[in-house]
Amino acid sequence: MCGIAGIVNLTDRHDPPSVDLLRSMVSAIQHRGPDEYGLFRDHRVGMGHARLSIIDISTGQQPLSNADDTLWIVFNGEIFNFIELREELEKIGYTFRTHSDTEVIVHAYEAWGVDCFSRFNGQWALALWDTVENTLILSRDRIGVRPLYVREHDGRVWFASEVKAIFADPSVPREIDVQGLAQTFMYWASIAPTSLYKGIEELRPGSTRMYNGDGSRKDIQYWRPSYNETRFSSVGEATEALRDKLKRATQLRVLRSDVPVGSYLSGGLDSSLTARFGREAKEGTFQTFSIRFEDPEFDETEYQRAMARTIDSNHQEVLVRKSDIARVFPDVVRHTERPILRTAPAPLYLLSRLVRDTGIKAVLTGEGADEMLGGYDLFREAKIRMFWSHQPGSHIRPLLFDRLYPYLARSPQQAKGMALEFWKRGLDRADQPGFSHEPRWSTTGSLGRFFSAEARHLLKSAPPPNYLETLPLEFHRWDPLAQAQFIEVETLLSSYLISSQGDRMLMAHSVEGRFPFLDADVMDFCNGLPAQYKLNGLNEKFILKKVADGIIPDQIINRPKQPYRAPDAIAFVGTEAPEYVDELFADSALRSAGLFDVEAVRGLYAKCKDRAASPEAVFSNTDNMGLVGILSTQLVVDQFINHNGGVPGKRIEFTTFIDRVHTSTH
């Protein structure tokens, strides 16, 4: 895993990119690849690379080229089926100098052009420069596991794994895009191509962009989730097939590595399975890692340890307290580079540090299972709401919510009666796209009341892109669960989970995540499953529980699903709150950022402090999200607008340096 950054002149009227500038850019993302640094430069481009050596440690340096040095690549990621692709390419005459997957990409592009990307099973963000055609190709994996940002200005293109590498160029203006901010306070994150920063695009997951020598630009969306039902003779047949595919996907992710691969264990079904299959993939010791919480409301230690015992792993834990979350939060936001409405990434930041300190560079996680197999409460809620919408007057149908949230059945009528009001919203729009997500979006969207008059004014004249307008035509043909899954994958998995809670927290400590449930083959298979194999009645991940039967402890399979959460607002307003919170919520800081209504934020902050001091210290969902979201936005402004997002790191030197401008340094 690695980081990439570069500048490309689309015409020849600009000077070649400066080596010092490229060094600053790569330096800004050195955490992504602290092992080696490389640079390719000619009169038109400079492409830099920070390497975390995992495959072909001795000869996998980048940038790397084809046989006649006319095609150059910088690449962040893994192509897990590179051995199979290499065999195919060798058969048609390509020869290889290295054992890396990087070289496979170069020849695959030569052989198949931009169609090559849909043949890859992996996680990547890459740039290819064709010196003959003067063409730049940027590509990103299906789900967007690996990040890629682009800025286009005055005939030049900047690209990088993280925005801070683009901001390392002092000529790049740094400004918050209120459209990206408004999307965040609605969908939980800005949705590619919109980013949080004006003039900077996030390349869409599953897409390839070409900047051609003639100045034209072309975007190709080579993949989006698609749901076309496959026929199975029985659940048993489908279960066997899923088990095989998941095993194979996990094996690929353990064996296609020249360093040991460990696994996270959350205590839930998904990571238990990936750990189990990971354990079986290879002889020898196996490392597992878990987050424990001091607060029992969030803690899952019992299940994590049960799984670690079952697979006899070398298990390590990090215990997280509220004060830890508050302490690392500024660093967390420096890595997410965007506001977050939950603190949930923070414990994962602490966990990847433990992984790195243990000497492990790559871990498996269960990410993606809930999206692929219908695991989230949102899917169950949507199903009940859909059923209810057929008889909106029914008092019986909404009783199903008791099964979804057993605490409701035990609650006094007051909590229950009113809770139903929330799910009732939009009940008359059951046939409209987005029905499944309406409760989440309207709750989160109400936080827009905290925006400043100025921000609201800007949004009025230029509203943020409406995600629902980007749905594919075939969306309407899918069953309601598939529709909800599609929206969940694009808005939350790609835009938030796999980024802010995934890549960014892992790479903060130079650890690569590998996600068997996001294997191309596994995803296609899951998307072909009939709805009732995924969400059976209200039984979530029905088929995955069958896969787990007999190989995962029953206590884990049968436990009620626990959403991964961490202490939110309480971490920043309690007795142990760090000083920076007061500073960022000061009137002057809010006024200078200009994004939020000073009076409203002051009121929210005072209320949260007040709540923290009360004996129950209960925070409403809205107040939790508001406080964490505004605080993280203020941190983003402080770090990325007032400053350029850089962290003082060591000065890097390019050990691989191909310079076609000053050939003497060749």
Binding site: Q414, G417, M418, E421, S446, F450, E599, A600, S620, N621
Partner: protein
């Protein structure tokens, strides 16, 4: 208790606790739940406030959206309650 007084108190509480603004206009007919201004925990905050402030007690059957979903609905419900209690 006068309706006007109740309305001032209720609107003031909602401004201070959910909208966080003394100046922003509050539409007394706007759905508090539907607009997302008040969420499920927020409604409990509101009920606790009403019970404490106006010395009323709500039965389970009272706790439906029709009684709490806007400032005006709350005002008319609380005044019915307080009149009933006095009677």
């Amino acid at each position: 208790m006068q309706q006007e007084h109740i309305q001032t108190e209720v609107a003031d509480f909602i401004r201070k606790n959910f909208i966080f603004s003394d100046t922003k206009k509050l539409n007394n007919d706007e759905s508090l739940l539907g607009s997302g201004v008040v969420d499920s925990t927020g409604i409990l905050e509101l009920i606790a406030f009403l019970e404490g402030k106006f010395q009323v007690k709500f039965a389970d059957s009272d706790l439906v959206a029709e009684n709490f979903d806007s400032v005006n609905k709350i005002v008319s419900f609380v005044s019915r309650k307080t009149t009933g209690a006095a009677a």
